[in-house]
Structure formats: C-alpha cells, structure tokens
Amino acid sequence: MTTEPRIAAPEPTRDSQPYWGALARHELMFQRCADCGTWRHYPRPVCTHCFSLRSEWQRASGRGTLHSWTTIHHAYDSALRGETPYLIGIADMEESVRLACRLVPPDGMSPSIGLPLRVGFTDQAGGFTLPVLHPAGG
C-alpha cells in the first residue's frame, strides 16, 4: 500500500493557535488589539499601532477584494504536483488585513484587481483546515 504525499501541516505557535483553531471550526478569525481595536495578520504579539501586548480574537466578515494573484504551474512541494495549475489569490479583507491562499474562480472567470471575494474552508488530509477564496457571487 502506498500513501499519497501530504502537504505538511502548519506548526501553530502560541500566538497563532487561535487562528488555526478557528479555521478548523470553519470560522475566519483575525487577531485584534484589545486596546485600540486595530486588526492584524499574521498573528504576532504586539500591536504595531499602539504597541499594546493585549489582543483578542474576533470573527472576520470573510469578505474582501482581490489585490493580486498567480497561477502556479510548477509545484515545489511534491504533494502538490498533481494539483497544478492552481491559483493563489491575495485578498484585501474588510478588516484591512490580507489573506493569501487558494483562489477558486468558476470556469471561464479571469481574476482581476478588485474582484469581490468571500472566504471558504477546505479540510486537509493532514488534519488541519485552510482558507480558500471564492468570487463573492459564485
């Protein structure tokens, strides 16, 4: 019996664990300063705006627009060789942070800057969940 190569599971840190925990529940949460309310991503200890070390996790709207993208034709991870070509999108989320992950437009739709997006979730064989971007209408 052979096993398919798997994408290596991310290794959450003390700072990032709530992000991955929320994704596993199919929720998108971002870190937010408990003092001044500024959202931040990727997870980190200090608020760049007011330098507070206090933060909380809040549910994000899951809505954003496309900032840029790439279609990957050469996978460096052997676990992804069977999936090429695949699209990666970078989204400006409503909370003023970015999300970078797979982008799955319907057949025939070309990406463009400003394309409205909504976030979805894909459970992975390695026991974790990744966000995925879909066009908001699709």
Binding site: S16, Y42, S68, T70, H73, I88, I90, R102
Partner: protein, 385 residues
C-alpha cells in the same frame, strides 16, 4: 560628501571559482575558501592580513571555519549580514563601518554554494525570516520565491501595463552580456520567442524569467581606502552604500505596496552618501533572481519613474553598448547564482577596466544592488580610484 563613511573603504580583491551546473565536486566550504584565497592573492595580500570576516552564513561557513582553514592569527571583527540576496552588498556597508571605526583593515566577504545539490527550497528552510511564509502560505502552495514574487509582478502589470515582453528584454539583454563573459554558464543566443515559449513557472514568471541554480564560490576584500593604493590592483572606492527594508518584511502578501522594494529606501541613502544621482551611473549590476525584480529595482533606484520600467528596458539601454549596461557578467539569470557576490566582483572588475570583451568603455562609477528575503534591498555605489 554628506557622510564621512563615503570613500573610507575600497574593494581591493576579488575571487571566483568553480561556476558549474553539474554535480558538485567540492564542498560549499571548499568553494568558499577557494574563492577567498583567490581574492586575497588578487589584492596582493596574505591570509594573515585578513583581520575581519563576513561570511554569507548563518547557514553556511562560520568565522571559525575560515580562521581554522586560513590560519588567521588575530581576527578582530566578524559579522553576518543575513539579508538573503542582499547580504553581499549589505556586507560592504558592514565592513566599511568596521574599517572606518578602526576595528580592522581588511575584511573578507565570502560565499560558497552547491546550488545543484541544495536547491532553493532547502536553502529557504534554513532562514528564520521565512517563518510566516512557512506557517501561513506554504500549506496553500506558495513557498518558493517564484511563487511569492509572481503576485508582485502581476500587480505591476495590472497597474502599469507592464508585459511579459518587457521581462523578456531583461532576459535577452542579460544573455547578450553573458555571451561576452568567459565565466558565464548560459551563453546560447536567446530571442524573444525563446522566452515566450519557455514554460510558465508561476504566472506571469516563465522559466527564462528565473535565475539558474549553480555551484561555485565568490569572495571579495573590503580594505581601508588608505592602504588600497599600495595593494596589487587599481583601487575601487566605496562612494556610497546603504541597506533598506520594506514594510511587512515577513510576508509580501501583507505589504501595503507590492510594487516597491526596500531598495527604494537604500537607494536614496546610498546616492546621498555618494553625493551623486542615477544620471551619474555608467553601469549597474542589479540583483536578478527574476527579471521582474530587475525592472522593479530600476524604478526604485530612480533610473525611471515607478511604472515606467517596461518602456525604459524596451529602449535597449540595458544591452551591451546601451546607455545603462546592466549585469555585464550575465547575472544570476545567465552567469551563475552566486547570491549577488558575483555582482560585486563584476562591478569591481569593470571599474578596474579588466573585464575583457564585456568591458564598458571608460567606466568610472557603477552601482550594485542586492535583493533578498522577500523585500530587503542593499545598494552600493563604487568609483574607480
């Protein structure tokens, strides 16, 4: 001159060994030491004269390796400048500071690389600054530089109308330079159609937009400017040097402006230190991990306005005989991927007027950049003494 660091240091020795794309025959350490010995003898120095070290590290050779092998008696200064592909040029700044402060007189800056054996993915995993990419982006299938930089190129194309043909011109002009360079590994003639027919790696980047993997060693010596005239080669002075870091350096995806690099900040400081502007530069060695990164730096350096890089390169200025010859050695795209250490050695060779068929006639002032770690930039302006 607005800074006393300007012209405090000179690059007095250069060495390069073993550029190849076959299975490596020597260890990375042997390649690094081989290049170091060549640079030391090129300068007219003995190993015992070296009293400062900046190896590429932290993943490669350490100062202790070099002290042990070269029998250095009394090392007075050692450092790393961990800026990925900007490390070599950032090391010029670091060495010049140590020399200007009187800590040491001759700093060896060196790199050995078995790129055919330990490719980019393995190299990046050794860098702590890739931790955010490893945790948050790699699981979705974006981890290699081509994949991370492609959205920068796409955004530039969408905002400014830059095209893949503009990138092709950079690949072509670099190849034309490589064809005049006996150390270049890729010297077959290239036409635009070859570039456009090369397979897509991460759209819009094609294979011929990507630098090559290779083995080799490269090194140079930064010395006090006062001693330079007594050494073996025509002096090449460090007129200006600076490093610059982008906002959100841990992840390109989080950066407010995807179309600007830390290079823009470094350029302003380096030109100010040298007391000159882009119009005074005779030739430039611009870090070319990818064609797009050259185009973006040309704008960040002020050779043209942001967004006008496509038209600028299409005018042919980068080619041999052009108004701004770029990467006269063939760069990382066509000579060898020596992380930009070969960009420094080439600029020094040009300013010595010792570049043979690749020589830019009468070159007096040149610029060299490094770029790495998803946005760090370093710029040095060198002047024939």
């Amino acid at each position: 001159m607005s800074s006393t660091l300007s012209t405090a240091a000179a690059i007095t020795g250069i060495g390069e060994v073993g550029y190849s794309r076959s299975a490596p025959e020597q260890s990375e350490l042997a390649l690094e030491l081989g290049a170091a010995l060549l640079a030391i003898s090129d300068a007219g120095l003995q190993p015992r004269d070296i009293d400062g070290l900046i190896p590429f590290g932290p993943a490669g050779a350490c100062a202790e390796d070099i002290i042990t092998n070269l029998g250095l008696g009394d090392l007075k200064f050692s450092a790393h400048t961990p800026l990925g592909g900007a490390s070599a040029v950032a090391a010029i700044q670091c060495a010049a500071l140590a020399i200007h402060a009187g800590l040491c007189r001759h700093v060896l800056v060196s790199l050995g690389r078995n790129g055919m054996e330990r490719k980019i993915g393995a190299r990046l995993n050794a860098f702590p600054q890739f931790k955010a990419v490893r945790e948050f982006e790699q699981p979705s299938g974006m981890s290699a530089p081509a994949q991370l930089y492609a959205p920068m190129a796409r955004r530039h194309m969408e905002l400014f109308g830059t095209t893949s043909a503009d990138f092709a011109e950079i690949a072509l002009s670099t190849r034309l330079h490589a064809m005049r360079n006996p150390m270049a590994l890729m010297t077959a003639p290239m036409i635009v159609e070859d570039h456009q027919a090369s397979r897509v790696i991460a759209d819009p980047l094609r294979l011929f937009d990507c630098s090559i993997e290779s083995n080799g060693g490269a090194a140079f010596i930064v010395s006090t400017a006062q001693t330079a005239p007594d050494l073996a080669q025509h002096p090449v002075l460090v007129a200006g040097v600076a490093e610059g870091h982008p906002d959100e350096p841990l992840a390109i995806s989080q950066r407010a402006d995807l179309t600007t690099l830390g290079t823009a900040r470094a350029a302003e400081r380096a030109f100010a230190m040298a007391g000159i502007g882009p119009e005074d530069i005779d030739l430039a060695e611009i870090y070319d991990c990818f064609t797009y990164i050259v185009l973006c730096q040309i704008e960040d350096l002020g050779f043209c306005e942001k967004g006008e890089g496509g038209a600028f390169v299409q005018s042919g200025v980068l080619r041999p005989g052009g108004a701004l010859p770029v990467n006269t050695h063939g760069g990382l795209l066509s000579q060898a991927h020596m992380a930009g250490y070969n960009h420094v050695t080439e600029l020094v060779r040009q300013l010595r007027h010792a570049a043979g068929p690749a020589q830019v006639p009468g070159a007096q002032t040149g610029l060299v950049t490094g770029f790495g770690d998803m946005g760090d930039g370093a710029v040095a302006i060198l002047r024939r003494g």
